[in-house]
């Protein structure tokens, strides 16, 4: 099972790195999805190893949340694009100090 956890950690970190280094809003969002998915993998692996199912239930709710976030995120992306004409998150720098 720790194999799965290590794999999940790898994917999670890749996702985190994606969020940190990428500037395209959509790619950042996709990296976030990667992070959520790695957590899902962890849950499934753990509940499998412990012979439980509550982890699997958790995964389902994560999926729901991911879907909801996708909706909001893409809505924000569209609104943002409309105002700035780009999806570069560095453009979002009006609010500072």
């Amino acid at each position: 099972m720790s194999n799965y956890l290590i794999l999940a950690t790898i994917i999670f970190t890749i996702g985190a790195a994606g969020v940190i280094i990428r500037k395209n809003l959509i790619v950042v969002f996709m990296s976030l999805e990667l992070m959520f998915n790695s957590a899902n993998l962890g849950f499934v692996a753990v509940s499998n190893a412990l012979n439980l199912v509550s982890g699997d239930i958790f995964v389902i709710f994560v999926m729901v949340v991911a879907a909801a976030e996708a909706a909001v995120a893409l809505g924000i992306a569209i609104a943002f694009y409309r105002e700035k004409g780009t999806a570069d998150i560095d453009e979002a720098s009006e609010l500072k100090n």
């Binding site: 799965y4 950690t9 890749i14 790619v27 190893a49 999806a87």
Partner: protein, 167 residues
């Protein structure tokens, strides 16, 4: 099984890396779908076929379609600036690596709880994983389920508000 795990792992890691390194978001999206497929492979290996299906349906199917759609609508592939901020990339990767090493340290040093549950592979196979999930979902986690539905509803309102041009 071992071999299968490593193959899927390789696919997952490779495609994840591609997601974050591809210049064109569309390519990234496609790699992400590939990654999701690898994940559903893991779920099958872990006796959760239902989740594997859900993974394909919800993620690869619904969410990624949405993403691709937005990419196409907005035509974001044309990126104004080239992302060549080496400095920031370096720090970002460094930090991620540190986090990675730290979590791995915890995983290697620690150990999980010993199995005490009753839902062994055999039990799950006997009852069927869909039924188990269903029963749990509608008994113990009813409230969560209801809240999830409200959450989705709110998200829809949100998407509608954001995407709407004007009030």
């Amino acid at each position: 099984m071992e071999a299968l795990f490593y193959i899927f792992s390789f696919i997952a890691i490779f495609s994840a890396l591609m997601v974050i390194s591809m210049k064109n978001p569309l390519t990234s999206a496609l790699y992400l779908i590939l990654c999701f497929f690898a994940f559903s492979g893991f779920y099958v290996m872990l006796d959760m076929q239902f989740l594997a299906v859900m993974q394909i349906l919800v993620y690869a199917g619904a969410i990624m379609v949405l993403v691709v759609l937005v990419i196409m609508i907005l035509n974001i592939s044309k990126i104004k600036r080239v992302e060549t901020d080496f400095h920031q990339k370096f720090i970002g990767i460094l930090i991620s690596l540190i986090i990675f090493v730290e979590i791995i340290f915890y995983i290697i040093n620690g150990s999980q709880k010993k199995s005490t549950g009753i839902f062994t592979g055999a039990v799950i196979k006997k009852i069927g994983n869909t039924q188990i999930i269903g029963e749990f979902l509608f008994t113990k986690y009813t409230l969560s389920f209801e809240i999830a539905s409200v959450l989705l509803f709110v998200a829809i309102i949100g998407a509608y508000i954001f995407a709407k041009k004007k009030f």
